[in-house]
Amino acid sequence: MAMKKFINDPANLTSELLEGYTMAYSNKVKLVSDKLVCRVNEKSKDKVAIVTLGGAGHEPALEGFVGEGMLDVSAVGDIFAAPGPPKVFEALKMMDRPAGVLFVVLNHAGDVMSANMAMKMAEKEGLNVKMILTHEDIAPGIDTPDEDKRGLVGCVPLYKIAGAAAEAGASLDEVYRVAEKFNNNMATLAVALKTATHPSTGESIFDLADDEMEIGMGQHGEAGTGKSKIMTADETAEIMLTQLVKAVGAKSGDKVFAMINGAGATTLMEQFIVFRHVKKSLAEKGIEVARAHVGEVLTVQEMGGFQMFLAKMDDELIKLWDAPCDTAFLTIR
């Protein structure tokens, strides 16, 4: 059976998508050395650079957020596979500067191995890099050690927070501090409804029966906390939100950033319906949604489902979120 995707040779997926992306947004991004998506309009060398790494197949993440006020470089691997250490080191080295580099890594085994090896190389060459690991998936349980929690969509608003601080001229320690503050105040929980096709192999990445959903599913089809019958949008949202509110410790009077991130085939219509419940339910708890974002940020091909994200915000973080940025998939004026 032919795969129901518009692709050419599966071996060239990543290179072709990166070419297409950088051609479409050539005013914002360029492709360097095959797999490094960089700002066209480079940031001045006396400001901290923000670098990340990750597999492809999650578009617009991660490379869709390269640009003024967010990422300087995204080192892209292959479909769902982290780039190798040499490529990651190349990205760090390219951004080397006295002001330093903040290196944002999502907690997935491959990403972390590549990042650690690249950091070793960077140390050897005396680069000024600080690494920060995101690990905000609460599916394995709120009290699970950080190293066992995956990094999900939370990296994207973290790029924004760190990027804004960097753009404002903050030192590497300062950029790290705000990024880590956000990192420690955020949580994500995902739910899956329909599988996706792995575009290299044509295989489904997981199975769910026609009347099932799964809360806690990871962004590569890694199983979650258990399957259940499909629930309504409001029921699903309430179950997830309850856990997220607990995870970030939000209480009456607190302000939060709330995000619904579509996995691919779940419509914006549904995401808005889910967000409606989130907003209402938080309001009942006296928690204010100070800022929000709804849409496809980090997808898993055409998977049905979404990630619900919550972060406790203070005035400093809100100001950083509001700062202007100009990337292909997030622009704030």
Partner: protein, 211 residues
């Protein structure tokens, strides 16, 4: 001749590539069950780079060849597999001299160094349901056979058997590393894809070795 030289190393590496090529679809299926379904594709991509590295190698620098093999695998952007497999070969490079032929003991020492290289990245041990469950027994088998005075061919035969048994033993394990870790008990009953890859690589070595 009872030594492994540059040419023989190239030959056994290519044989390992062939084994992965022949079985990459099975590896992907195994990874679909408890991972993200890309291990076969990644292994194929990574191992095919070995063929290219060999084709581009000149002279008979065993150390340099192994280093290049490892580095080029890491350049394949292969998720966990790149750093793991890459550091296996780069570790092996650390364990040998520049221009050399290896006797039985030196072969065993080279693989021990490779295991140490991978361990730095891996942190896993036997029983954790990873590549280590095949690699550790394979290296131990090489060492034991070399101590017993077996031929290099016999050593690799023992290693291939040990790797295969190690890979099969992962069926009864719960994953402690990698993407499968989150699945906990649900990984029971499934053979680990990475351990299976290692066993195919050793099967490839054993088939091609003739010293």
């Amino acid at each position: 001749m009872s030594e492994v030289n540059f040419d023989m190393l190239c030959r056994i590496m290519s044989s390992a590539v062939g084994k992965i090529r022949d079985n990459h679809e099975e590896l992907t299926k195994l990874d679909s069950a408890i991972g993200d379904g890309d291990h076969g594709t990644t292994m194929l991509r990574s191992m095919e780079s070995v063929d290219t590295t060999i084709a581009e190698a000149s002279g008979d620098d065993v150390k340099g060849l192994l280093y290049d093999i490892g580095w080029n695998i890491m350049c394949c952007d292969g998720g966990s597999t790149g750093p793991l497999l890459g550091s296996l070969f780069m570790g092996m490079s650390d364990g040998v001299e520049v221009e050399t032929t290896l006797d039985a003991d030196a072969v065993a020492a080279m693989f021990r160094a490779g295991l140490e290289g991978m361990s730095v990245q891996s942190k896993a041990n036997v029983g954790d349901k990873t590549m280590m469950d095949a690699l550790i027994p394979a290296v131990e088998a090489l060492e034991a056979a070399s101590k017993e005075g077996k031929t290099i061919a016999e050593m690799f035969e023992a290693a291939a058997i040990a790797a295969k048994q190690g890979a099969e033993s992962t069926k009864d394990m719960q994953a402690k590393f990698g993407r499968a870790r989150n699945l906990g008990e649900r990984t029971l009953g499934f053979q680990d894809p990475g351990a299976t890859s290692i066993s195919y690589i050793f099967a490839g070595f054993a088939e091609a070795i003739n010293v």
